[in-house]
Amino acid sequence: MKYSILRTSLYGCLFIAVYLILDRLSYIHVTFPVNVTPWNPSAGIGLALLLVYGIRGAPLLLVSMLAADFSVRGWPTPLVPTVMANLSVVIFYSTAAQILRENVRIDHALGGVRHVMWLLGSSLVASALSAYCYVGVFLLAGVLPSSEFWSATGRYWIGDMIGIAVFTPAVLVFMRRADWPPLRIFAEILGLGLGIAATLWMVLIRGAPENFQFFYLLFLPLIWAAVRFGIKGAVLGSMAAQIGVMVVLREESAETVTAFQYLMLALVATTAFLGAAIEERRRVEAILHARQDDLAQVSRLSTAGEMAAVLAHELNQPLLAAIAFTRAAQRMLAGESPDTPKARSTLDRAVAENQRAAEIVRSLRQFIGSGPIARDSCSMSELVADAMALAAPEFSRRGIRLSTQGDKFLPPVQVDRIQIQQVLLNLVRNAMEAIERDGDISVATWVLDGMMAVQVTDSGPGVSEDVESRLFQPFNTSKASGMGLGLAISRSFVETHGGKLWLERTGGGRTAFRFTLPLSK
């Protein structure tokens, strides 16, 4: 407890120190007696503080702002309006941060366009309101002349906004454990930095700062950064560009800097959106990859029948050896002069072979998972879609149409994804093999008596009553190839989930297999 208080106060002091340094560095281009400057990075880290620590960070921010007014500006304005102006700013930003935290649930890694939009959008509103109130308070207090109201408000707004657009994403993104890029791309990052510097030189030194004809060149290195390194590249690049701009423009008039900051805001916002979009795409790609791996695992088992063939071969080996050892031992013991020691060692080897067989059965059981199985909450329509995707190539080859039916909004099921995909795949393949060529299969999903029901219906020749009675018995098959284990294993999978699998008698000569699964709690 003591330790955590100590740590909290240490972090607090650290924040105030950083805040003061940033405030001091950005306290240039001052035209008003109050803290209204065309760039305000301290607002950026202030909002970041509120986003990370919530409303608890608000007092610290207020203290930091007052400390900056005191130390950086030597307390130029009366106490009451200064406190009130700063308090209004803190209230607006805290409210924005609270909305972002609680309602939007903003992703601190900004891994999506939506999150960047909410961050920039709400800070746009919060900084505008802050600017209005901050400047308004000093106007009422008589510190500012009313003629300066709109220009001071505009400058305050753009200063805070650009500070937030550049620094808040940077703090948020890098506060999460930054995984540093491998060495080989440091060269590229260096190149990027040089690119930004060169562009800045083109934009601001070769072209005169007051005409902005080269400004759009800055988009190039920042787009590069965003495309290559996602949101991290975007925020770092933006920060580098913004700091570079401020270094170059430190001698320019406040008007020029202010005008420039509007352009910078457009640039930084564009870069952030692009970075977030790239990030989003990468994440989707990663999910896609993971899903494909899952599917690969399913197709590794492909059908339970193939697995059973492998199993049969593996089991035959030790069984054959055990039989032969035992028979040999019997013969050694028979006759006039039984060779007991040799028979004993031969029987030992027979036992070892039996144990080898038992080991295979044990590992198979783990493989199929009649032990503890991993059950996740899965979307049934996704499971169906995955199985369809696996079977699709064979379907089109055989000219079989496949359709899915059912509610779009189904509750999730609590299942082992791999096993249920296996069941679906097996039923669909059976249907396909029953049809042989040119027909249709439909997979329907719906909720029935508090369970998820799935039905695979095909236009095949149907199941005779004789076959039906033996349908779920292992090693019973009507197919030329296969072990006749598919339905038996499928039923066992469904039953370990607490569901049922059966042949549904439907009219019209169609064959339908139906199974049920429990819904997620």
């Binding site: 049969a312 035959n316 054959l320 050896a321 028979r327 027979a350 070892a352």
Partner: protein, 206 residues
């Protein structure tokens, strides 16, 4: 080397199965030898020895079917019994078509194995005896003089002595003497006996 030396060659990559089959065959009174793969069996093979081969159809490298094909191409007429797993029945059919003596499906009991091995050894023994007879006839035929062989070739075609004499431009009396020598050297009791031997010789040459 006699039939009692008949050897069962067990070729299987599974050490346990290999050892178990050899133990069982030996306990049943056979001579048996194990090899972990086809090449090591082929390396030590004495084609003149009677016996049979018991080979697993599934082996890394050279499969049982490959081994059977190889023996056939090399003119080794050891009967081959193929051991198959459950899913390899189509391979077994292939093996039978290619001339395998038999195939047995894993896991099998001793009677199946011993029946199959005995049958293979019997047919191997027949082949062995056949081959030994041909070898005998060949040895005897080699003792014939060139003229005697000419006489034999014509006689077994069914030509009478006189025709043979005309064909070879010698007297009928000389043909008669040569013919008696041929019968004696070949150990033939009758003309039909000699004809059978001549046919065997032809077969052996093919």
């Amino acid at each position: 080397m006699g039939l009692d030396d008949a050897l069962v060659h067990v070729v299987d990559d599974d050490a346990a199965i290999r050892d178990a089959l050899v133990l069982l065959l030996e306990a049943a009174g056979h001579r048996a030898k194990a090899y972990p793969d086809a090449p090591s069996f082929l390396a030590g093979l004495d084609a003149s020895q009677p016996g049979c081969v018991l080979a697993d159809v599934r082996m890394p490298g050279m499969s049982g079917l490959d081994l059977q094909r190889h023996l056939k191409n090399e003119g080794v007429d050891l009967p081959v019994v193929i051991i198959t797993g459950h899913a390899d029945v189509s391979m077994a059919v292939q093996a039978l078509k290619a001339g395998a003596s038999d195939f047995i499906e894993k896991p099998f009991d001793e009677d199946v194995l011993l029946d199959s091995v005995n049958r293979a050894l019997d047919s191997g023994a027949k082949v062995f005896l056949e081959r030994r007879q041909i070898a005998d006839i060949q040895t005897r035929a080699e003792a014939l003089s060139p003229r005697e062989r000419e006489v034999m070739n014509l006689v077994v075609q069914g030509l009478p002595n006189k025709a043979v004499a005309v064909e070879l431009a010698i007297s009928a009396r000389t043909v008669e003497i040569h013919r008696a020598r041929v019968m004696e050297k070949m150990g033939a009791n009758s003309l039909s006996d000699l004809v059978r031997m001549a046919l065997r010789l032809e077969e052996g040459r093919e």
